[in-house]
Amino acid sequence: MNRLVNRRIRLFLATLALVFGGLPLRGTWLQTVRADSLSSLAQIQQRETVTIPAGRGTLFDRSGLELALGEQATTVYANPMQITNPHRAALAVERTLGVNADQILPALANRTRGFVYVARQADPAQAAALQRLKLPGFGFYPEERRDYPQRSVAAQVLGYVGTDGNGLSGLELQFDHELAGRPGKETITKDPSGQVIDVQNQIPEVPGRDVYLTLDHTIQANAEEVLRETVRKWAAKSASAIVLDPRTGAILAMAVQPGFNANSFPSTPSDLQRNRTVTDTYEPGSTFKLVTVAGALSERIVSPRTRFRLPYSLHVADRVIHDAEKRGIVNYSVAQILAHSSNIGAITLAEMLGRTRLSSWITKFGFGRTTGIDFPGESPGIVLPSDKWSGSTIGNVPIGQGIAVTPVQMAAAYAAIANRGVWSRPHLVDHVAGGARPSLNHRRLVSPKIAKQLMTMLKDVVAEGTGQFAAVPGYQVAGKTGTAQKPDSHGGYATGRYVASFVGIVPASRPRFVILVAVDEPRGAIWGGTVAAPAFQQIARFDLQYLEVPPDAAPGK
């Protein structure tokens, strides 16, 4: 009996010895051989490197109103492999985030995937409601969502930001580097309940810089409203307008209609998203005669009073060109050629000037190259070099045919005349926070005397010529109408498709605004003086009142 007990005790002791002898061995194994892998496994479970998003800079208008700003949002993702009940999870997502359960269910139930987005940039309150449910397999991280509080105002100019926070078009793209900032990073250690217990290696985020525009949201919204009404009235395809301060080249409004709500850009056709005033070209028609006349005056070939005997039509190479309205032979001065927008008169001046000099004046006015406006995708326009001109080119370029310009090029050219002959680079950005104002880049096009003569002639266009609908009571207006047939895809001109435009300067005595209005394919009327000039008048009247520009002479005095 005793022997048996002794044997059992020995066996027990041997087992104990084995167990206690094995423990240090196991400990040594874990502490040495498995140390690295276990340590990294623990780090993965406890440590996490989190990216701290840098707030994107705000776009302000000239009055300090936010046109684009960043809002905090929460992106919700899921790991379907960890979701125990996909149906319950989908219903919870529908209830809290408003995402259709039927749509999200296949993604949540797909156990072959380890990551799916449930909602990008969701409302933080809604995401927090889902987070409170503590569903397994769901994750949340903060993201910034771009918001355009003025909705459709200046939508094409501001552009938009993609879901990853990168500027994709417009000023958002042009100033992406300044607006974006630099995201920060921090490594955190969490306890088993997910509570942060330590923060290491923090790299603070650098917020993006704010950008202050020259645009004025009130002038912009009014211009858009006028264009909307113009498009509706004339059943036009589209319309564009630019309001520019000729003294500095600052653009106060850059409107395109039809527009769109900037907050819903993904669902907007790309055609509507284009800022046509910068990216699209058109044949300017008679508004281009300013360049021909400016060249002729500057080269001292003619004076404003030089008179010409002008027939109704003219043969140029293989083409017959005539004036817009049927008439007999007239005796027009250079001023009257501009006032009545005589094609024959402008071609006569161009023939006196010659193709080389005319071509150099076209280049001098900035056509055929970009203006350098701070907006992406600017078109240089299409200008044929003089050595490639055909015999009939001298018959169409001086009257704004066979040449393509952008509205901003044309507005800048008229602004130069309004600014006593000095051209200023048109610009949309006044300054970037913490940075210097960009240089204005001036250059003289014509002498102050020639600019003054041209202004007098342009005043006549509104006072007694084709632009009488542009007149604003109490103010002197200078400007020029344009009606250009649109080219077709076969190298000719499309029947019944026109661009009606008007470029005006107001007040002509002390210019504050250059306003360009171009209406694409109006119906019922095609003339710039009928379709575009009234829109100019409405925009000018509002802007003069809004910026409290005193009239040239008090009414009745």
Binding site: G55, G70, P149, V196, V472, G474
Partner: protein, 122 residues
């Protein structure tokens, strides 16, 4: 030789047996007490230091948790601020106010001939 042995015997019988001299017990007790007191002192010091280390770690932990909570609070406040800015921007939009004024109050934009400007004397 016999004399030596006799002398030794006489000596043995003459002198009574005395206990061997040992180190005094008193100084040994004092030294031990001192050692014990020193040990307790160091234990106290070490315990205090350990308690300090633990307290510091707890404080750091609490601060980190507070930092995290404040960070979240800051993010929330920024989100609210951005939302309010957006609402303010929409509400303060002049065209919107003009539309409301025209619709609800019958506001009409004054024309240039209805506006008078005065030049003030300097």
């Amino acid at each position: 030789m016999a004399a030596w042995a006799a002398a030794a015997r006489a000596e043995e019988t003459a002198a009574p047996l005395r206990p061997r001299t040992r180190p005094r017990p008193r100084p040994r007790v004092a030294k031990r007490e001192l050692r014990v007191t020193g040990g307790v002192f160091w234990i106290g010091i070490v315990a205090t230091l350990l308690a300090g280390v633990v307290a510091t770690n707890v404080a750091v932990l609490r601060l980190n948790m507070k930092l995290d909570r404040l960070g979240r609070e800051r993010t929330d406040l920024r989100a609210q601020n951005a939302q309010l800015s957006s609402q303010l921007s929409s509400a303060a939009s002049a065209p919107r106010i003009q539309k409301l004024a025209a619709k609800q109050l019958g506001w009409v934009q004054a024309t240039s001939d209805q506006t008078t400007y005065f030049t003030l004397q300097k």
